[in-house]
Subunit: 427 residues, 2 copies
């Protein structure tokens, strides 16, 4: 039976999960896939962590050179995260002729071109299903199943931490700060949660997914990014009453106007398949010109779900010689002809504090109308008046961001009302 | 540039969609996939249908031998449906050294072993993503993404016609017969709808999906099958009020007790991701030992969504030489060691017509309890009394089918109540 040796770089949550899956399923894979997959080496500075997982001491490497020169290692699994030293290690492995399976979204998003060129040059496999949305099978779906489509759009809830926080805020009416603290205590959010709550993690994943979808590298720096730190529990509550749930949504669109990529808090109409994606679950909703709408739903993170994606790639790599996906055409930047849309078209939720005077609503509407914005839904809460100020909540029809910004500026420069929140809306 | 010639057998709905996608995207595929995919031949008796799609007359073959001997044809797409002549044609193509892409669930479910053996013998590709659930990427997800998992269970809404009918019945409170007639008029159901409404179509797909999931051939004859022709609008209404929606569910489970495969109307708890899958949308909900829960959602039928799956396979086949999926281990029947579970474990919805006498509910409960069945939810509708008969609706905790059958027989043999409906329930 063919024997394939694995090295795992990093025994954190995902590395530990990957080791557990590989070691517990070894006999199963021999029987089902006809290949004996053995972890031959791990690179982990915390030796006791490796030993506690049951890894024999002689398999614990002390540096990357040892891994790369080990003739028993065929596939290197990189699950360290971050750019360095992961990048150096992955390039070393590829240059040593090892195939690589990675879950590292930041590395792959920023340096896919270098990694892909190295893989090509050395005739090695490079697999990264686990880099985006854990156990949700989105990379292969885009590359294989939907490859006959022009992808028109994708919308994803692709960060578990923020979805957990927003779901909690929505269910309990609690503030962002309270829920974040609780999430950190429970281990759902990291002590430094910036990458998650500011939308960087989602932007890295959107960069990879939109590059695959739109067949040109979409650098994450091109992605409009707005996190959830400014989300107000009041808006979640008003949105709910108007039939919407708030999600951190990653959106990619490709149309005649160009490519549009953005990550921001978004109200989604209840009844939309994405509206029911709660807690740490994730989902990607893809629209292709032939397949129409497809949604992929599952665990976007966690030791075993992400480990499942890693191991899927490992078995694929172990059973398909010299197999390579063509992906971003090995470039660092978008094709020169690519146009990026920045004046987004969307519906908008606007919450105002209005002076309790006759005709305020009509004056606000007049300003919106002047900028070509028409209103789809209004709630005016006279019973919530305090200090002579009444909340008014509007949801607009589709309009353009620049017009909304101009209208908001004009409203705020007057005496009658002040705009407290503006949130994009998906129906 | 590599040129790959396609033949399409059958220009029905899916064949027409496939031709449209291939011809309209030809330049796109050249640019993106680096391959020129050209339809070189079609086999369709209705010549005018081929001509109306814009196919040149010299490409219309008059028999399968002409297709098989055409040196320009590399891949044969079979989208005729049914066993014969599709089976003969597919085997002829494989024996002539052509790779095959098929959407034919009945053929693949019944004769996968013959087709796979022929593909292997002739070193040809055999692809069948389109055979199950149209544009929903379920085959490749099982084969590639989840191959590191032991699949514990799958539940699918995998027939569009019945889901359309049940959604309509639920929304409009209409009877099965009314909605079926309307669906036939609108083209959502065929004139002879037996394969759909009696659950055969779902059983063929479940046979394929559970064979892939559980790594042994699951013949469709082993699948318990119950269609929707007996569904009563009253039960849909009661279920709704108790928080459930009725779906034709295909269920596959693999546990220490054995393999359990069944297709039947099922109440699903609102809030479950499958409960929101409406109209002609389909979804498969898969639970693996590592990935946990994954749901794949999309269009399960239709010219372009199913065509998208076909073309995904065509491009894959055109860009990967000698690539074959290992699937059911080329056998016609389940491994001899496979145990099939027939005494299902489930929760049950039971609707009774009870005589309006004191103590009826307690006597019914006593019978259930005697058979080890405990009740989770009860509705007794005294205001719905007619002719001294009152409806009682019960939902049980998890129990076994044989015990439910015994309890129902015992209730029906008495004087106090009659069981009108028994429907399995998923929480």
């Amino acid at each position: 039976m063919k024997k394939v040796g694995i090295a795992i770089l990093g025994l954190g949550v995902v590395g530990g999960g990957t080791y557990k899956i590989l070691s517990e399923h070894r006999e199963f894979y021999k029987k089902i896939h006809g290949v004996d997959i053995v972890v031959e080496s791990v690179l982990e500075l915390r030796k006791e962590r490796a030993l506690s997982l049951g890894i024999e001491e002689h398999k614990i490497a002390s540096n990357i050179a040892e891994v790369c020169s080990n003739p028993d290692v065929d596939i290197v699994v990189e699950v360290m995260g971050g750019v360095e030293p992961a990048k150096t290690f992955v390039l070393s492995a590829l240059n040593a002729g090892k195939s690589v399976v990675t879950s590292n979204k930041e590395l792959f998003c920023k340096y896919s071109h270098e990694l892909e060129n190295a893989a090509k040059k050395n005739n090695c496999g490079l697999f990264y299903e686990a880099s985006c949305v854990g156990g949700v099978p989105v990379i292969r779906t885009l590359l294989d199943n939907l490859q006959g489509n022009k992808i028109l759009s994708m919308m994803g809830i692709i960060n578990g931490t923020t979805n957990y926080i927003l779901t909690k805020m929505s269910n309990d009416g609690a503030s962002y700060e309270e829920v974040l603290k609780e999430a950190q205590k429970l281990g759902y959010a990291e002590a430094d949660s910036t990458a998650d709550v500011e939308g960087y993690d989602a932007a890295y994943k959107l960069s990879i997914l939109s590059s695959l979808s739109f067949h040109t590298k979409i650098p994450y720096t091109k992605i409009y990014r707005e996190g959830i730190t400014g989300v107000n529990a009041l808006d979640i509550e008003y949105g709910k009453r108007m039939g919407y749930v708030l999600k951190l949504l990653a959106i990619g669109k490709n149309s005649d106007s160009g490519i549009e990529v953005r990550v921001h808090p978004t109200f989604i109409k209840c009844g939309h398949p994405l509206a029911g994606v709660n807690d740490s679950f994730n989902a990607v909703y893809i629209t292709g010109d032939s397949v129409e709408d497809v949604m992929l739903y599952g665990r976007g993170a966690g030791a075993l779900p992400t480990g499942s994606a890693i191991v899927g790639d490992v078995i694929y790599c172990a059973t398909h010689d010299n197999f390579n996906y063509s992906t971003f055409k090995n470039t660092a930047s978008a094709a020169p002809s690519t146009k990026f849309v920045t004046n987004f078209e969307s519906a908008y939720y606007i919450r105002l504090s209005a002076k309790d005077k006759a005709g305020v609503l009509s004056k606000v509407s007049a300003v919106l109308s002047k900028h070509g914005i028409s209103v789809a839904q209004v709630v005016q809460e006279d019973d919530k008046k305090s200090n002579g100020v009444v909340p008014i909540i509007l949801i607009t029809h589709l309009t353009h961001e620049k017009d909304v910004n101009k209208a908001v500026d004009e409203i705020n420069s007057g005496e009658l009302a002040n705009v407290d929140s503006v949130i994009r809306v998906v129906s």
